[in-house]
Amino acid sequence: MNTQKCLVALAGQPNCGKSTVFNALTGASQHVANYPGVTVEKMYGAYRKHGTRVNVVDLPGTYSLTSYSLEERVARDFILRDKPSVVVNVMDASNLKRHLYLTFQLIEMDVPVVLNLNMMDVAERRGIEIDVARLAEMLGVSVAPTAIKRGKGKKNLLNIINEVGLSEKGKNTFTIDYGVMEAFLEEIEKLLADRGEADYPLRWLAVKLMEADDEVEKIVQQSGHDAVIIAVKQKRRAFEDEFDELPEQHIAYARYKAADIIADESVFVKKKDTVTLSDRIDRVVCHKIVGPLVLVGVVYALYHLSIVEGYKLTNYTWPLLARLKSLTAAVMPDPAFVTEPMIRSLALWFVDSVNALLNYIPIFFILFALIAILEDTGYMPRMAFLLDRLFKRFGLHGQSTLPMVLGGVFVGGCAVPAVMSTKGIPDERARFATLLIIPMLNCLAKIPLYILMINIYFADHKGIAMMFMATITLLMALPVAKILSMTLLKGRETAPFIMEMPPYHLPTLRGVLGRAVERIWLFLKKIVTIVAAVAIVIFVLMQFPGLSGDSKAHYAEEAEKAKAVFNKKIKDNPYAEHVRRDNIMALILYVDRYKKARAGIKDKEKAKVVDARFIEENEIFFKVIKPKGDKDAKKINKALKKLISARKKILRQIKAEKINNSFLGKIGRSLEPVTQWAGFNWRVNVALLSSFAAKESSVATLGAIYQSDEEGATLEKRMSETEKNFTPLHALALLLVMALFPPCIATVLTIKIQTGSVKWMMFSMAYQMLLGIVVASIVFTGGRLLGLSGLQAMALFFGMALTFTIAMGFVNPRHEYQ
């Protein structure tokens, strides 16, 4: 059997259909990883041909192969270091001339190149004819024309790859004529050859050195050829003096000239291009007035479909997650009357925490699919085009639009996909600024706490308060971005904005769904696992050291009392026999299970089935729950209800005391000296700390802390009862801190993945916490000193933030290119 292996790299400029080719070649066997040490995604897959296993790597799409951008460096390094057997250069056949610019650089690297003229159908439609044989002859490489999207030419492409991959490596015969620079290049080649340089193609090194390519200079320096570097510097200067042109300009122009010559002989345009469809679309989409309206529409659709409709979908998926929880509950040891086995509490807490995140999957799926559609159609660059001016003022980039929309510019986003989508921003400084401010925007999970606080403390001005929250975060995020980009991020690489406005494409179902699934999977793998781990840590902090011996005894006594009352009430009851003391717990659990089983069932037939199951399990218990006409059973039912509510009360008290005693409670209390300036007591601190695992949990924790004797009292009521001293000013401070402070673990991790650095992750956490507490303290303490009401403080702060933001927009740091 033939067990030969073959490594194929796909290279090409953006928008040439490269990922479609990759999908067609590798089918379902695709994987994503990162290139070592950087955050650029590496897509790889494999296929089999005539017994040869062919591994395919999809290199990042690049216009060129310089050292100025990360993607280009990654693509170049892969070709140089991993030495693929074949580099398939995917090109847009309808735009051949421009795509040849990259081809020349690949050929110069002396790797076996196969040209894949993709999108032949598009070329044909535009009346472009290509003499494939002539092209292959002039370039000295094999050429495979395809229209992969239409399923044409794949077989031929595979054959050619195999042929070239398995053949003895021949030298590329084509060379670019650099004209007056040839003499310079020859001398450099000779210098390198004399020093025994053999790891890299000499001509390529020489060209790159003349281009003053940093990375190549480093390579040459590391090989100990310092003298060469010095000689090249002189040559560059000599060239510039003599020909009044930068050497790199001369090189690029020579490439375009060569492309011209080749295109002249092999490409024939039969009809002159009229106005293309894309251009006609752009007349609307990029229009001065209509364009922004379309943008608003797109953003609205994105929100509506993913957040609103996706949220409806969670109504269907939530029962599945709830079932996961009840299944877990079923396999865990049963709780006793007032105590619960630790393993049970842990398992349930764990499932709850993970469920809180899994619940977002329908929303994420729709979101990711919609982003993929936006990416594939080509709308993204238009978005950047429309808003670049605005964002640039704050150190951001036109391409920050999508991440900010996803993060919840107004209300209801999620920072995780938002941070993930910053990947597309080519400018490092703007990319970092964007991903650092995203957690400040209004993600979905912050909303429940907003609503809670606004309902209690701004009940008369709900609309105003909600508007305030929806806009204030952006007003704080923009200046922060500006400040960061002028200070900490000052040294980060920037990139020119220059961006292609590609023709619009119809996205393929496969491409869109594939990407959505892949990103969901990435999310599950990387985020959920760690969130689960953090959930356990917080559990420990909340459960330990637990109740003191005295308290335990006290609650046990209370429990006994409740049970005694129950027993007394049912003493002479004919059913008492069956509900004897030992069976009380079994009965309570039975009631619990029954309630859960019947929850959400409205259909009478289905309800009957459930009832039948419970009757079969225990007829007498069922009678107690549903006494109908039976007087004795009714009596027991009444007593049982009292007992259950007594038990609930004890359990609530235990929970509150546990949190009170817990490590987390202690931490919350020890933070009081600092947080008092923002008006927070330890209870609020605990709620904020617990929101680390997932922000929703802050409301849940508040729910656990603020207990009420009154059955079914709303959290709003319980909270306002317990915190009698709380004023709207307190609430405002809490709202602001909630907007800024609690970095959710999932987001923090995504930031680590996208920056590739723990340091930036820590920074993002630290600055948010600091900013949150400082802003809240200023508002609370300042508001109190000035004697402002919550609403007045809100208005004043809004005015200040707005003024500051506008002012920051006009601060102009040193001009980039002067």
Binding site: Y63, S64, T66, Y68, N95, K97, R98, Y101, E211, L246, E248, Q249, A252, Y253, Y256, D273, S278, D279, D282, C286, H287, K288, I289, G291, P292, P381, A384, F385, L386, L387, D388, R389, L390, K392, G398, A495, P496, F497, I498, M499, E500, M501, P502, H815, E816, Y817
Partner: protein, 74 residues
């Protein structure tokens, strides 16, 4: 004249690139080189950036980048 001064609807021919380093390389890699005919298509709603057409495809760039492209108005 420089490219940033050309108004939407006007055409020009690239004379010279006066940028250097990263910006110059990027311009060239994106297909901007002397001799090419350029048509300015439109400005963004907030004036910046500008969209141009060269040799059948479309680029957008900021005005402070277009300053470095010397052109002759056609």
């Amino acid at each position: 004249m420089t490219l940033d001064q050309i108004k939407p609807g006007e055409q020009c021919r690239i004379k010279k690139l006066s940028a250097w380093d990263k910006l110059c390389q990027r311009l060239m890699d994106m297909g901007v080189y002397p001799g090419l005919r350029v048509k300015v298509i439109r400005n963004a709603p907030l004036e910046d950036p500008v969209e141009v057409e060269l040799g059948g495809y479309f680029l957008s760039l900021r005005h402070d980048e277009a300053v470095f492209v010397e052109v002759d108005l056609l």
